[in-house]
Symmetry: D3
Subunit: 190 residues, 6 copies
């Protein structure tokens, strides 16, 4: 692995040629984690799309009372495992380890949340996220009521849905663009 490895099957623009808002986004990422996540660099090939997508995406990871930051990452990794998405398993696997402060539990949830000794609430949330991923036609009002029975608000149930749907978008963007995860992620939050 070196800095010049190919991170996309599409052209990757030079950072300096990007619009100012994206250059700021890249700078902030560098400040916060020391590097620019490849998802930004790969998607900057269509810079307006990246800006629009990210404005939507970032709303979905805002924590709420019954669905905190780590729990939102759990949805990301459960969907990504169902879709087999290398980029998201590595990058959100890292984010989950960090959010939990528990690298073993983070990896376990990433690879098989059913064997990670999760609460009934989170099992129900992740079972639903995976159902929406692999057999979306089967979703019904019963699923919504089931999640509410664990204390989630109506808005939080919607969030489970929208996060799961969003990773069905991003997983496919990563799959089809050949997006490679930054090597830095693997050793972080260990």
């Amino acid at each position: 692995m070196n800095d010049e490895e190919q991170i996309s099957w599409f052209p990757v623009p030079d950072e300096e040629q990007l619009p100012e808002n994206l250059r700021k986004l890249f700078s902030k990422a560098r400040e916060r984690i020391g590097f620019v996540p490849n998802v930004f660099r790969v998607m900057s090939f269509r810079s307006e799309r990246l800006s629009a997508w990210f404005a939507h995406y970032k709303q979905l990871h805002e924590p709420t009372e019954h669905l905190n930051a780590a729990e939102r990452e759990m949805i990301a990794v459960a969907v990504s495992m169902a879709n087999g998405c290398l980029y998201c398993l590595i990058s959100h696997g890292e984010a989950l380890r960090e959010a939990l402060g528990d690298p073993v539990q983070g990896d376990r949830i990433t690879l098989d949340y059913k064997r990670a000794n999760l609460s009934q609430k989170m099992l129900a949330v992740l079972d639903y996220a995976v159902k929406l991923t692999v057999e979306p036609r089967e979703c019904s009002t019963h699923d919504i009521e089931h999640l509410k029975s664990f204390g989630l608000t109506t808005e939080e149930v919607w969030d489970v849905i929208e996060i799961a749907a969003m990773y069905n978008f991003t997983n496919r963007m990563a799959h089809a663009t050949g997006m490679m995860p930054n090597p830095e992620y693997h050793a972080m939050a260990r």
Copy 2:
């Protein structure tokens, strides 16, 4: 079917309580097609999300030289048929009939694009959109080269990917929210 039928398993806000930008969006829809598509009304439950999503989504249907408006709708319906999404099959089925000016061909592509006597180019585009939907791990650089061999630019190949990925998001939002298509669509562009 009547005006008061339930269009969502989630609460649907009154239009007058929505932010101004969404009220404008609704008005423009009413002017253009005579009614507000239920996708807007259902997703207005989380109004900021709707605004952000739509700002992204609308970029994807901008026609280009080798991927016109009708061809972009074809990707929408091919993905929606693979996912079995009632809302998108009805609403984008209508959009495709209108874009083609051919109701029979529009319906055929919606239900089985392989039997619609399409060009080799569009067959390749739709085969790829469905592959990305049902077996995303299998996507490779060969798929990208294959689409380019039919004259698509690199940006247009990206668009095929991003449209297909986007309908994997919207299909799942429709499936999980119980989104019902407006009855008006069925008889339009016949």
Copy 3:
């Protein structure tokens, strides 16, 4: 679409060369709906088979007290959607719209009967028809008892089975012969 489009991957005989019983069948169809359904024209390549199949098939759509004509069409479209059969979705989708006198409800049942606000009885009937289509080994006496609990007679439960099984035959005949639906269906019963 024009009159001369290819409706089959197999030769289609001239009507006048067909046996008398089939010429009568074609005439009656023309009287009743104004054209000859392509299923007859395509299958007339093997005219004795067509006669034998149709003698069987037509018995299955005879209405009974707890399974009327529209409900039998619902089984046809639910199976055809599970198999993704263009010909049957278009032609029996039309028949269902007409039988119901409700084009919106007809299309909804055709594309996703689970979201069409059907009675518990019809949901059970269609769930069973789809189960028999996609995982036939799993059928058991419990399924039969379940349908009877909604008031179906033993004969009517058999009919659910035989109709579902029959469309697993006709869907495959349509798929493998390249049978194209008559363009007239699309605008009928709208």
Copy 4:
């Protein structure tokens, strides 16, 4: 196993109460193989249906120059294995052993035709029959041309299709009615 075991989840009429044509059919079966195949007894619950179905079905097993009786049975068992149909695997497995005069080869084709050292022609025929069974939407004109390249006439290619489609009907009738194969089949043609 005894004579009184339950052969159907539906009522089985007394033979003497059946219409004359069916009583003749039963007699002929008894003369030819010593017993009445349970498919007749089970389906006689709806006697008109049985008559109509059988009139159609029997046409499909008429041998032709490039698709003899044994080869037609091979299609029956290949489809029945793909659907996992106990009744048809036992009864048509026996028929194939008898038609071939080779019990080992008959069983091998029944359980896994790909490992039975068949001719390229029969491999192509059975691969197509299974494709039509498990992924019918994927059938195309190429499949038809491929079979013709092995010498099958257009009519014989149609027969491959119609036999495969027919066993998708009969397999499901057997699955859903709880049809049990006659114990006699197991030791016959050994």
Copy 5:
């Protein structure tokens, strides 16, 4: 079928060149059933592997109080049918007919254990073996408790698991090596 047919896609060593322990194994087989099962001859290509595998495998068919020899063979055939393994269906189908002393029941269990009128205990055992074969991630402690509720000891539940897992090994060895069943099996225990 003749003595010289190809039984493997890999070289098959001469018996006299095998280590003594295997020559004894072959002799004992010849004494007991009159021939050497092809699984031994095929796997003797890697003779140490065969010795090690067989030392493990034979432990699994030791009968216990609530899981007798026939019941252990039932697990073998149920897994082999789920995997579609010709070699194991023929050879363990024979072993099951013999163990039961009932050729009809043996074949029925081999081809579709759900329709063989088995006890609730054996249905639960075989359902679990198939679940472990086709959707192993879904296994849970509930499955273990369920089997225990039918009287199986903890050790016997483990045996169900280990036998099912073992046939997922042997089925794949047979599939990938082109292992052909000895013709003798077909007529035995009829």
Copy 6:
């Protein structure tokens, strides 16, 4: 995570009660990596089985000229990802990172070997291992010839098969026993 977490859904014997050969095995593991892999502790519930299985298993990881230790671990993780096996992904993921001396490449191969920039030889090897895992009936002599074309000997092709088949055994043992990976693995070879 602590030392007393539950590592199996079955009883786990005290080490001192195990036969001497297993106590030696445990000691050697402790010397080599500092702890006893949970697979040993879990499987020691049936100690003779563990001994027999391990005697077989360890043969499969012996390196040869064209299939070295790391390449054998690649087969282990590719199969384990196809089966979604938490225990094997964590433990053999670690073994692969160590064998390669490249933690990033090890994780990439573990999660999606197709995107790890592997040689054509290893892509062919892993594609075949996954094919044998998910659609074993489709294996043929062509697969064997294909691997040989990359220089593998006949014995090494057999090893690819036997390793893939073996992980279809061990993955299922882990799935069904609730085997949890030792927490130590996660941070090793980073």
